[in-house]
Amino acid sequence: MAEAAIPRAAEHPPYLAHHFSDIEQQNEAGTLGMWVFLVTEIMFFGGLFAGYTIYRYLYLPGFEAGSRLLEVQFGAINTAVLIGSSLTMALAVRSAQLGRRKALIGFLVLTILLGLVFLGVKFNFEWIHDYHEHLVPGMGFSHPGPHEPAIQLFFCFYFFMTGLHALHMIVGVGIMAVLIAMAARGKFDGGHYSPIEVSGLYWHFVDIVWIFLFPLLYLVGGRY
């Protein structure tokens, strides 16, 4: 059988999968694969955004009343925290590109920390607080007032959307941990940074989802 076609082990770096002809093709495939996956995520969150838009159109006063029950300062802080983690992630990708392992690990750790801060603020200061305020649908929701059913609908959306987003954050933090372990073992030294770049795309996407969630949930109809 002709061996020339299949690159021999010498020019066959460990991270080049057998079915790709060269590293360029593998990287492009990885990036395109992640972007296509992010499109499926846009549609996945899209189902909830569509439902939110319809009910906001139908019950605007109720949604505005529901939105005012949320603390906007925690939302703003969380947005800033997440944008910060996007910065550290971008810097992590950059240091991976330049092959600086220590900086890469440092920025990845920073990204995880900021992610955990976001989840901490979300869980301790918002969800627990809402639970005590009886604002969690299905767990003793009661908010007597004119728009009671519409407010409950709003909180259904609030918990579904932020819950799904938090789930994606947890998965992202898990990915970062794996990357740190691999980086520590020097897997990304030889200029092979595609896994970092792809995880970065995922993380930035989760940040973009929150960039839309924050105004739609916290600022709908204004705070005056």
Binding site: W35, M43, T53, L58, L91, L201, I208, G222
Partner: protein, 111 residues
């Protein structure tokens, strides 16, 4: 063999811009602009998304195929929302907007 490396100051610049925009959108929410509040909030969120996508996600330096994929994602989301709104939005338009007239009294009532 590295992809496009972006200088740190560009990243930090984008980061600060995003923080400013977050502050802006929160601030604008405290000003009563009526329906314009929603438009402002979404516009600012759109600008922030473009910043993150173009610079942090390197969309600005990536192939046109990737850009088409991203646009397709948002276009399909727009299809879902727009077509559902065509139903919800026009549901209570009664086909004949003229008023209602009492039914001719049923035959029994005449006798």
């Amino acid at each position: 063999m590295t992809g496009h490396v972006v200088p740190v100051r560009v990243y930090v610049g984008i980061f600060l811009a995003l923080l400013v925009l977050t502050g802006l959108t929160t601030g604008v929410a405290f000003v009563d602009l009526g329906p314009w509040n929603t438009v402002a909030a979404l516009a600012i969120a759109g600008v922030k998304m473009m910043l993150v996508a173009l610079f942090f996600m390197h969309l600005r330096w990536s192939s046109s195929l990737t850009r088409i994929v991203v646009l397709a994602g948002f276009f399909w989301l727009a299809i879902l929302i727009a077509f559902t709104l065509t139903d919800v939005g026009t549901r209570y338009w009664s086909p004949t907007p003229q008023g209602w007239t009492a039914p001719t009294p049923a035959p029994a009532a005449q006798r």
